[in-house]
C-alpha cells in the first residue's frame, strides 16, 4: 500500500497543473497515469489558448460574454467569470515556466483569431499549442520531484464514510494491483472520445475518470453535450485545427460557394463550432457536399504562413487525406471532438463526494455549457487544474488518512479481474468489434443532428452491446502489459459514459448548443435553462435538475 496526501489521476494539462499547485502548497503529491505524461491527449490540442490580457486592450468581461454566448447560455456564469479573470495570469505563468509562444514584432506574445469571439485573444505555438504547454508542465513536474506512477491503470476509487480516500491501481508493467491511500483524489482523466467512432480523440480517451467517479457515487452533468468539430478528416477522424480558419481559411461546398454566409453572415467561418458543424452537415445532407465532406480552402493563405503556423495539420492532410493544403482544398467534415459534460464540480473542482475533485475535460464546472469555444479547453484545464490542486492541498493539511483503507480493496479488484480472465473462451469474442459497434452507433444517432427515434434506437443497441460486452473474452492471460485486459476494462468505462450521454440527450427536450434535435429544433429557456444531472443506481441513471447560474448576462437570441 502507498500513502500520499493528494493523488492526481491523469497527467495531461489539468492533472499536472493540479499536481504542481498542490505540491507548491507543501503537501505530498503523487500522479497516476496510464501513459507517460507527454503521451496524454492534451498534446493533441492544436490551435491555442484564450486569455483577455488587459495590456492588449482586451477585457475579461468580453471573453466571458463570448464564452457565455458560445455555451448557448448553459454555462455557469460565476465559473466562467473566474476562468476568464484568471486566464491572463495562467498564460504568463506558463510563459515564465518556459512555453515557447509565437511572438509579435515587439517580442510579446502574439495572438490569432478563433471561433465565436469578437477579438483575437488566442495565444499559440504554431499548431501544436497543447504539446508545447504539456511539455513545459512535464518539465516542471520532473523538476518538482512529484512522484509519477507511469503506466499505472486505475481500477476503482475508494470511498469510506462518504469520503474519497484513495484508489486501486494496476501497475501495467508487472500486472500487480496496489492500493494507494490518499486524503484527496483529483480526477484529471480527460474525455470520452472513443465512445464515438470516429473521433478526433486518441485511443486512450475512454472516459475512465467519469466512469470511476460515477461508480463511486459522484453525479455526471450535461453528458448530452457532445461537440462535433467542424474540420476533421474523413479517413481517420484526425483533427484539422480551427487555427486554419483563425488564420483566414474558407469553408466551401462543391460549387465553390462560401456557404457560411447563409448561416452566420457576421462571423462566417469563425462562428461557434456547433453552428459551423450544423451548417456543414446541412450542406452535406442537402447534396452540396463532396463525398460526404465540405472543403477547407487554405490556398490563399500562402505557403509561408501555412508552413510557419499550420505545418502539422498540413502534414496530416498530406498523410491522411492525400491533399496538400498549399495546393488544394482539404475535404473535412464534422467529427466528434469534445464532451462539455462530465463529473459535476464546483469552481474549486470539488465534486459531490468530499475529498474527490475533478478538472479538465473530465469535469463539468460548467464553463462550456452547451458548446465550448475553441481554445477555451486548454484554459479550463489550467485554471481549474490549479484551483483543484490548491483546494485539495488546503483540505488535506489537517486531515488524517482514513483508517479503514486496507489491501482488502485491491484484493477485491484482483478477484474481479480474475473472473474476467477465467471466462470460458469457447465462442466468445474479443472487445474490438463490440467497441467498434458502440462507437458507430453513437456516431450515427448522437451526432450533429438528433431525434427521439434515433436516440431510442441507440439506447436499445447500446443495451444489447453491453450484454455482449459482459461475455467478451481476454486472450492474454499473462501479467506483463496485458493490454488486452486493460482495453476490455476501458470498454466497461465507455459503456457507462455512452449510457449517460444517451439518457441526458433523451432527457433534454429542446435544442441548445451542440444538442440539436430535429424534432424539437427550438431552444426552450422557460423549461430547459438548467443542467441535467445523473446519479448512478442499479436500475440506471437517476436524473436531477440543477439551475444555471446567471450573474450578468441574460439569455438572448444567439446569432453569429
Amino acid at each position: 500500500m502507498f500513502d500520499h496526501d493528494v493523488l492526481v489521476i491523469g497527467a495531461g494539462l489539468a492533472g499536472m497543473r493540479a499536481a504542481l499547485a498542490a505540491s507548491q502548497a507543501g503537501v505530498n503529491v503523487a500522479v497516476v497515469t496510464k501513459v507517460f505524461p507527454v503521451r496524454s491527449h492534451s498534446n493533441a490540442a492544436q490551435g491555442g489558448i484564450n486569455a483577455a490580457l488587459t495590456d492588449r486592450g482586451d477585457k475579461w468581461e468580453d471573453h466571458a460574454y463570448d464564452t457565455v454566448k458560445g455555451s448557448d447560455y448553459l454555462g455557469d456564469q460565476d465559473a466562467i467569470e473566474i476562468m476568464c479573470k484568471e486566464a491572463g495570469s495562467e498564460i504568463i505563468n506558463m510563459e515564465h515556466m518556459g512555453t515557447i509562444f509565437n511572438r509579435d514584432a515587439e517580442g510579446k506574445l502574439g495572438v490569432r483569431a478563433f471561433g465565436g469571439q469578437r477579438q483575437a485573444r488566442t495565444f499559440f505555438v504554431a499548431d501544436f499549442t497543447g504539446q508545447a504547454l504539456l511539455y513545459v508542465l512535464h518539465e516542471q513536474v520532473m523538476k518538482s520531484g512529484v512522484r509519477v506512477y507511469e503506466e499505472w491503470f486505475v481500477l476503482s476509487l475508494i470511498v469510506e464514510g462518504g469520503e474519497c480516500c484513495g484508489a486501486v491501481v494496476m501497475e501495467m508493467k508487472t500486472g500487480e494491483v496496489h492500493t494507494i491511500r490518499a486524503k484527496a483524489v483529483i480526477m484529471a482523466t480527460g474525455g470520452i472520445g472513443r465512445v464515438f467512432e470516429p473521433s478526433t480523440n486518441a485511443l486512450i480517451c475512454t472516459g475512465d475518470g467519469m466512469a470511476l467517479a460515477y461508480r463511486a457515487g459522484a453525479p455526471l452533468m450535461d453528458m448530452e453535450m457532445i461537440q462535433y468539430h467542424p474540420t476533421t478528416l474523413k479517413s481517420n477522424g484526425a483533427l484539422m485545427s480551427e487555427a486554419a480558419r483563425g488564420e483566414g481559411a474558407y469553408l466551401i461546398n462543391k460549387d465553390g460557394d462560401r456557404f457560411m454566409k447563409r448561416y452566420a453572415p457576421n462571423m462566417m467561418e469563425l462562428a461557434s463550432r456547433d453552428v459551423v458543424s450544423r451548417s456543414e452537415q446541412t450542406e452535406i445532407n442537402e447534396g452540396r457536399g463532396v463525398n460526404g465532406c465540405v472543403l477547407l480552402d487554405c490556398r490563399h493563405l500562402g505557403e509561408k504562413l501555412i508552413k510557419e503556423k499550420l505545418g502539422q495539420i498540413r502534414q496530416l492532410g498530406i498523410d491522411f487525406a492525400n491533399a496538400d493544403m498549399i495546393k488544394e482544398p482539404v475535404p473535412v467534415r464534422p467529427g466528434m471532438h469534445y464532451v462539455m459534460g462530465g463529473i459535476r464540480t464546483n469552481y474549486d473542482g470539488l465534486t459531490s463526494i468530499p475529498g474527490l475533485y475533478a478538472a479538465g475535460e473530465t469535469a463539468c464546472v460548467s464553463v462550456h455549457g452547451g458548446n465550448r469555444l475553441g481554445a477555451n479547453s486548454l484554459l479550463d484545464t489550467l485554471v481549474f487544474g490549479k484551483r483543484s490542486g490548491q483546494h485539495a492541498a488546503a483540505g488535506v493539511k489537517s486531515k488524517q488518512h482514513a483508517a479503514g483503507v486496507t489491501d482488502a480493496y485491491s484484493e477485491a479488484e484482483k478477484k474481479k479481474i480474475q473472473a474476467i480472465l477465467d471466462r470460458p473462451a469457447d465462442g466468445g469474442e474479443l472487445f474490438g468489434k463490440v467497441r467498434q459497434e458502440l462507437g458507430e452507433t453513437m456516431n450515427k444517432y448522437l451526432a450533429v443532428f438528433r431525434d427521439q427515434q434515433g436516440m431510442e434506437t441507440a439506447q436499445r443497441k447500446v443495451k444489447e452491446l453491453r450484454m455482449r460486452y459482459e461475455k467478451v473474452i481476454v486472450h492474454d492471460k499473462g501479467r506483463t502489459f496485458n493490454t488486452n485486459l486493460i482495453f476490455t476494462l476501458e470498454l466497461g468505462f465507455m459503456f457507462d459514459c455512452a449510457e449517460t450521454v444517451i439518457v441526458g440527450a433523451l432527457e433534454r427536450k429542446e435544442s441548445r448548443g451542440a444538442h440539436t434535435r430535429t424534432d424539437m429544433p427550438k431552444r426552450d429557456d422557460a423549461n430547459w435553462l438548467k443542467h441535467v444531472v445523473q446519479f448512478r443506481t442499479p436500475e440506471g441513471p437517476r436524473i436531477e435538475d440543477q439551475p444555471v447560474k446567471i450573474t450578468q448576462w441574460q439569455p438572448q437570441v444567439r446569432s453569429y
Binding site: V35, F36, V38, R39, S40, H41, N43, A44, E95, H96, M97, G98, I100, F101, N102, R103, D104, A105, G107, K108, L109, V125, A126, F128, Q131, A132, Y135, E139, Q140, M142, K143, K173, A202, L203, I204, S235, N236, A238, E308, Q312, Q315, L316, D319, L430, F431, G432, K433, R435, Q436, V474, H475, D476, G478, R479, T480, F481, N482, T483, N484, F487
Partner: protein, 320 residues
Amino acid sequence: MTMDVTLNVKRYNPDAAKPASYNQEYRIDLEDGSSLLDGLIKVREEMDGTLALRCSCRSAICGSCAMRVNGRAVLACNTKMKDVMPKDGSPVKVEPAGNMGVVKDLIVNFDVFWGKIKAVKPWLQPEGPVPQGEYLAPNEAMLHLAGVMGCIMCGACVSDCTVLEVDKNFLGPAALAKAYRFVGDPRDAHEKDRLKDLTKYGGMWDCTRCMQCVQVCPKGVDPMGRIMKMRDKALAAGYNNTYGARHALAFTDLVRHGGHLDELRLPIKTFGIFNVKEMLKLAPIGMRSQMVGKVPPLFPKPIPGIQNVRRIFEKVEAKR
C-alpha cells in the same frame, strides 16, 4: 479497395515458461490507405488479443508507436502500409524499437530514456527578477526553438542511434536535442553551465554524426544538427579542452593547413603528444597500418589549389 497484407511480427512474452523471442505471421485484409498501425490494431482487436504495443493518438503527436519496420525506426501511425510492403510480396517485418530493451512484444523499456532526458535538466532556468508580463523574446528565436520543441519523445532516434548500440552511456539524440531547446532559449540564464555539462563523457562529443537520427525522426527535429550547433556554442564558450573538441579543432586546422586530413597528426593534436596512455592505445592501429602500408607520409604536401580551400574557410568564418 482492400489489400492483402502479411505482417511478420517479432514477439516476446516475458510471462512464458521459457521466455524467448520468436516471429509470428499475421495475414490481414486492409483498406488501401491504411497505416501500419491500422494493421497492428486490427490484429490485436480482432485476431490475437495477446499482441502488445503502445499507441494512442494516430496522428503522429503522442509519440507512443515508434517501432522498427523492415529494420528502420518509424511511427506506425504515419507509416502507410503500402509504402513498407516489399515488392517481392514477402511479409512486412515489424520489430520493437532498438537500444531500449524489450518488455513485451513491441513494447520497449523507456526507463533509461526518461532518465537521460531528466539528466539534461530539461526545465527553463531564468535568473533575475521575474517580469510582471511575459519575457520579451524575438519571434525568430521562438520559431527556431519550435523546431526542436516539435520532438514528441517517441524514441525513434534512440532506437536507431549507432553510438548507443556500442556505448550505453551516450545521452543520445533525443536528450541532446532536448538540451539544445534550453541552450538555445534566450530566456535561459544557464547556457554556459549546460554546455559545460554536455561536453562531458556521454555528451555532445560522443555523437559520430552518422545521420541515422536525422533520417528516422518523424518530426523533422534534426537531433544531430542540434548537437553540432551545441558543439559550435561550446567551442565559442571556451569549452575546447575535451578530446572531442580538440579532435574537431585539429581536424579543421589540418584541413585548412594542407587541404586534406593528416591522419598522423590528428591523434597527436587531439590527445597531446605527451599523453602516453592514449598514444599507447593507438599503437596497435599504427602497427597494423604499417603492415598493410597505410601509414600516411611524415611530411605531407599541401594539395594543389590549397588557396581555394583556405578561401572557403575564410568565407565560412566571416559568416559566423
